[in-house]
Point group: C2
DNA sequence: GAATTAATTGAACGTTCGTTTTATTATCGT
DNA sequence: ACGATAATAAAACGAACGTTCAATTAATTC
């Protein structure tokens, strides 16, 4: 009835995070009790409070780190000195790959925002807005240089993000379509949606571009 | 401490539904307590159980009727003997109009599915699938007749629905864009996304189609 | 090997939850 | 006017919730 043999703070905290993401994604934040989470980890509920002072702190940590991860992933693959079509393609590829890879965490970050306190909600939304702003910048540059035909940059950015993020709702690994297939199709849908001129885009990805029209 | 003057079952039930939709949309199903709901209606919690045997019955009723409403709205505006582009345009217009008009109810139907029991979840998903099937049929016909250029009908249908439904996340009435403006933009994005041939579509909506390319 | 620190247990606290029961009053048909 | 029924209030139920606290043991340090 105390410290267990082989117990390790770092390992326990990691297990808590992973179990929490899965449980919240499956049942929702409110529906996940601390006792249930503890049971999943193989620990008593009180032990969770060694790592996260409150349940909301746990949720906030998961969300913040997920948003930071998204941002970092994009910074890492972001092309420098590329034309708008190439930049847009990179954005789409990264977004879809990241969201499929971290389906559960994305679910949490998108669906449980209302369980955050106002100031923490603001923080997460700020991160999200910053990420979306990058897409708007790409779209605007493409529209300005004539690479894209776009009516409303902000609206198009929202539409694209909703469309891409929606992948996590229906995509299941190992079913009809593979990740590269899904990505390729979304890429060509995106390029058509923004009215990308083919000569620009086909230079980067000849095969996909052919099928785009 | 009993029946109040002017009380009316029908009016109370309607008030319960409306308050429930708003509260669940704002705070989530789990976070909405029956006491809070009752207070919003101006009644004691026990009175709610005259109209809905359990909290989940209330949720299920809201969802089922929302899905029925969506289906009915589409049946009502669905064009007969129209080419695929016109049908798709009607689908998009109806979907966006319906979802903007009933933002809160849509939020509930999309976000609270996991609070349903398995068989009720199945029922709602069946309704949703039936509605989405209509879009797939339109896309397939358009692809077969050469009106559209589509790689994957199922995937395109999902992408379009996610894109359109996403409107409720950011759209606020009375802000920068009006409903007709949003609808027009989404319509042209949709037509480009499915690679609609302009001569077909421009016959129905000349102005939008011009701007599409 | 003793002292210190890290990790966890088990029990308990007060609160809130969905729901039930019983009593009470308004409304309506006759 | 009266009996039937519809609509609600008030109080209570047990269960579950997030969280705290004291006790206890494993690991680490010196």
């Amino acid at each position: 009835m105390a410290r267990t043999t082989g117990s390790d703070g770092e390992r326990t905290e990691a297990a808590v995070r992973e179990a929490a993401v899965n449980l919240i994604a499956r049942y929702g934040y409110e529906a996940m009790s601390m006792r249930r989470l503890a049971a999943e980890v193989g620990v008593q509920a009180a032990a969770l409070y060694r790592y996260f002072p409150t349940k909301e702190d746990l949720l906030f940590t998961l969300m913040r780190e997920h948003m930071e991860g998204l941002r970092e992933a994009w910074e890492h693959v972001r092309p420098t000195d590329a034309d708008p079509a190439e930049q847009l393609a990179a954005y789409v590829r990264n977004h879809i790959a990241f969201h499929i890879e971290r389906r559960h965490a994305t679910h949490v970050s998108n669906m449980e925002l209302r369980s955050l306190s106002p100031d923490r909600l603001t923080q997460i939304l700020k991160q999200r807005t910053a990420y979306e702003k990058e897409l708007r910048a790409i779209l605007r540059e493409g529209a300005d240089t004539g690479s894209f035909s776009i009516e409303d940059t902000g609206l198009t950015a929202m539409a694209l993000i909703q469309m891409m993020t929606g992948v996590i709702v229906w995509f299941r690994p190992g079913e009809r379509l593979s990740v590269p297939e899904v990505t390729a199709t979304y890429l060509s849908m995106t390029m058509r949606l923004v009215g990308a001129r083919m000569d620009t885009y086909s230079a980067a990805r000849p095969l996909d571009a052919q099928r785009t029209l």
